[in-house]
């Protein structure tokens, strides 16, 4: 036994030694990273190279928002588009716009931002050979179809869009293919950012360390690991950074980021892991943020399938919508990080921007009895049961789909009425949707490109629109959208858009489920932390103590 005690002692000693060694390492690290006034924030590996027109997810968008300022910027509070680099954007016919940019703006490499910086960047983003994910942002500009043909196998017939013309260093004109009154309001999106000459001349070097005209500049970038940004002193905008910089650290798992925040090694996480949602309020107190983001989750129907067509199909859809207990699911499964949806837009638009609580009416309210009636009237579920399909590799899709099915089954008093059809990967799921292979309900979500009601309607429900996954087509709806786009005043336009939205509430090509919130948590070092409508932290406003 004496030998054994000695051994235990030795093991304990070794462990203690090991732990002290690591503890020292930890101490050193804190001195190295996160210097004075620098925010240490969590990050995820961007899916695409960091080009403005090639970024469609939050992680890349976060950086672009810091290093670029376009013509407009969305107010973090109201979501309204305000002039950033734009001096003025004028039009007489809602189709040809004259853009004048402010003087004195520079890229962080010292070069001037001119009208050419915009026109070249937009032409680059639109051209099919550059394979930019976000090229559809330029689809309204005259000449887009020549640089980016809609047909899969066609080649581009032009290098630039004829609708863009540089007048002088600070002025350029944009001609759209058709009137679009809200077009200037779309310009706050990162895809419309200007690009310096270095982007075109030495693309690879630029990608290794992107250069922009925003409130921050990139000091170092080690791909898929970390990025350090510091305040750009020559920044000409009025939303300059109130801190010295940001250090972004890639986390392989947001649970680890959460633990690191608790340990005081990290200042800001902008996606609280689902498993921690119920503890977050207790752990972080008022340092936990849970606020609406411009994301709506819906369930769509394959309107190309005979089962869902006609009046019976409509009744069926209405019945199913009324069989879903949104309140219960959002509070139980999502811990109130989702809000039951009652229209087709998002609360971040605000009343003035076209959000209309309750526009969907009774159809989006939980009413199991009426649901049963409607489905009976329609002759019951097609084939006696339905499925709901989604990828289950990310998010908590599996959980909420089970809950939705349960809710439907309870309402219809039939345990086999609704079943979940899980698809292993997101890519596979998207392929099935694109190839129109759906036969039952399927998950659809929409993250807005810009906080405009138009963006929640046209790309999703206009005939043959890019993301019209259900194959919905309604002449009256299309006519109203066209009319709204050519309306002179913003207010009238929004009114007409809402009129179109009411048609959706009647036809119900998709069931609105809930509005998604953005979540974040931060350390005691930070103050004035909030998220913008894209659920990206407003880094410039954050102060560090």
């Amino acid at each position: 036994m004496r030998g054994s005690t000695r051994l235990i002692g030795a093991v304990a000693g070794a462990m203690a030694l090991a732990l002290t060694a690591t503890a020292c390492g930890g101490g050193d690290d804190e001195g190295g990273g996160g210097g004075d006034g620098v925010i240490r924030a969590s990050w995820g590996d961007p899916q695409h190279p960091l080009e403005p027109a090639n970024t469609n997810e939050v992680q890349g968008g976060k950086v672009l928002d810091m290093i670029f300022r376009g013509l407009k910027r969305y107010d973090p509070e109201t979501g309204e588009a305000e002039d950033a680099m734009a001096e003025s954007i004028e039009t007489d016919d809602q189709q040809t716009f004259t853009v004048t940019i402010k003087d004195g703006w520079t890229f962080s490499d010292g070069t001037q931002v001119t009208a050419n910086s915009y026109v070249d960047a937009w032409n680059y983003g639109a051209h099919v050979d550059n394979a930019q994910i976000g090229s559809y942002f330029f689809q309204f500009i005259d000449g887009y179809e020549d640089v980016h043909p809609a047909d899969e196998n066609a080649e581009a017939t032009a290098d630039t869009m004829r609708g863009l013309e540089v007048v002088d260093d600070h002025t350029f004109t944009v001609r759209l293919t058709e009137p679009f009154s809200l077009w200037p309001e779309t310009l706050g999106y990162a895809a419309y950012a200007p690009l310096p000459r270095s982007f075109f001349e030495d693309h690879d070097t630029w990608l290794d360390k992107p250069v922009g005209n925003g409130p921050y500049k990139i000091d170092s970038y080690s791909r898929s690991q970390s990025m350090t940004l510091s305040k750009y002193d020559e920044y000409a905008g009025d939303d300059e950074a109130r801190n010295n910089g940001v250090e972004l650290r890639v986390y392989t798992d947001n649970n680890t980021a959460y633990t690191d925040l608790q340990a005081g090694n990290l200042d800001l996480i902008d996606d609280v892991p689902a498993s921690q949602l119920q503890n977050a309020e207790q752990d972080l107190g008022d340092r936990y943020i849970n606020q609406p983001a411009g994301i709506i989750q819906t369930v769509s129907f394959p309107l190309y399938d005979d089962d869902w067509k006609g009046e019976d199909g409509k009744r069926l859809r209405q019945g199913l919508s009324m069989a879903i207990d949104r309140e219960q699911i959002t509070s139980r499964i999502f811990h109130d990080t989702r809000t039951p949806a009652s229209d087709f837009t998002s609360p971040v638009l605000g009343e003035a921007g076209g959000y209309d609580e309750g526009l969907c009416g009774d159809v989006c309210e939980y009413d199991p009895e009426r649901a049963r009636e409607l489905i009976d009237e329609a002759g019951g579920l097609p084939g006696g049961s339905i499925t709901i399909t989604s990828n289950v590799d990310t998010g908590s899709h599996r959980q909420w789909m089970d809950a939705v099915c349960n809710s439907i089954n309870n309402a219809l008093d039939d345990t086999k009425a609704c079943t979940v059809n899980p698809v292993p990967t997101f890519a596979d799921f998207r392929n099935q949707i694109t190839n129109r292979e759906m036969s039952g309900m399927f998950r659809t979500g929409w993250q807005m490109d810009y906080p405009l009601i138009q963006n929640f309607l046209q790309p999703l429900y206009y005939t043959d629109a890019s993301s019209n996954d259900s194959g919905y087509s309604n002449e009256e709806f299309d006519r109203l959208i066209d009319e709204a786009n050519s309306e002179d005043s913003e207010e009238d336009a929004i009114g007409t858009f809402q009129e179109a939205e009411r048609i959706l509430a009647e036809d119900l090509p998709a069931i609105p489920l809930w509005y998604q919130n953005g979540t974040a948590g931060y350390s005691e070092r930070l103050e004035d932390v909030r998220l913008n409508p894209f659920s990206v932290p407003v880094f410039t406003d954050i102060t560090v103590s």
């Binding site: 099919v128 898929s224 392989t252 633990t259 340990a263």
Partner: protein
């Protein structure tokens, strides 16, 4: 000996080609990855086509495989969807996973063998029983639970370590992750050594050695341990590969951007260059580690000779 090594190296070629082919097919079978790049939005056909062209996804699968293999021999492992060359990812991930593997291996070898020898020599005593029970417990609890618990207590409650490992992944940061990673194997090594030692302790040559009047330490280390290590070395050799490739859970918990993480990311994004590239290197590591183990046999047991 030299001949044997050459023969073994030549055998690696068909294994290598077969493994890459199977992995390539498996990733391919997952379907077309391009549409996922567009998020919840319907993909634009022209952009999708341009992307497919860029990543050779528009060609038939056999042609894709040949193109890929052709490039591999010139050192080009393709690019991930974020535009980063796979070789760059490998350059960064493999050293990190290698360090983590070494830390874990050191724990396994030192703790595992020492505990195994001690328990093997004291069979049935209370220390033996408690170590056995402990190893059972470790084997039974998933790494995920052990890892997050250790991370929370050492990282948040006591503040001894940083919960997340920095991108450099220095060795001192890897001690706790390495320990967690090694725990299950450590338990097996302990049990293997214990059985082997207990069996050999009754062998004739040990009795002879003791009868000769050799000191106890020399008997244990020179005679008993050396002969008992063969099964353990076999296990450790196979474990090198497993520790590098299978660290995916530990790597995620402790934010280590090693091989497991890159593989996970590659599979999630269905990027075949990343997945195949990493697996190719892992296959090579497995093969080399196995060769090394076979050669070690000869060192440990003079009866084994390779011609």
């Amino acid at each position: 000996m030299g001949r044997y090594v050459i023969r073994r190296l030549l055998q690696m070629i068909p294994v290598f080609i077969g493994a890459t082919f199977i992995i390539f097919m498996m990733v391919y079978a997952l379907g077309d990855p391009v549409s996922a790049l567009f998020g919840d939005r319907g993909p634009d056909p022209a952009t999708a086509r341009a992307l497919r062209e860029e990543f050779n996804l528009d060609k038939p699968v056999w042609q894709q495989y040949l193109l890929y293999m052709g490039k591999i021999f010139s050192g080009d492992f393709g690019t991930a969807f974020n535009g980063q060359p796979v070789t760059e990812l490998m350059e960064r991930a493999f050293p990190i996973s290698f360090r983590l593997m070494l830390v874990a291996l050191v724990f396994e070898v030192i703790l595992g063998i020492v505990l195994g020898v001690i328990t093997g020599l004291r069979r049935g005593r209370s220390l033996d029983t408690s170590v056995l029970v402990l190893t059972l417990v470790v084997i039974a609890i998933p790494t995920f639970v052990l890892g997050t618990t250790a991370q929370y207590f050492f990282g948040v409650e006591f503040g001894w370590i940083d919960p997340a490992v920095s991108p450099d992944a220095r060795v001192d940061e890897l001690i706790v992750p390495g320990l967690i990673l090694s725990l299950v194997s450590l338990a097996y090594v302990t049990r293997l050594t214990r059985t082997s030692v207990a069996e050999n302790a009754r062998a004739d040559y040990i009795r002879t050695a003791i009868a000769k009047g050799l000191p106890r330490r020399r008997v244990t280390v020179r005679h008993l341990l050396r002969n008992s290590l063969i099964p353990v070395v076999t296990y450790l050799g196979a474990d090198i590969g497993t520790l590098m490739a299978g660290a995916i859970v530990t790597e995620r918990i402790f934010n280590i951007q090693g091989v497991g993480y890159q593989l996970y990311q590659g599979i999630l994004r269905q990027n075949s260059p990343t997945v195949v590239g990493f697996v190719v290197v892992l296959v090579l590591i497995f093969l080399l580690a196995n060769l090394l183990v076979d050669l070690l046999y000869a060192v440990l047991d003079p009866r084994i000779r390779y011609a």
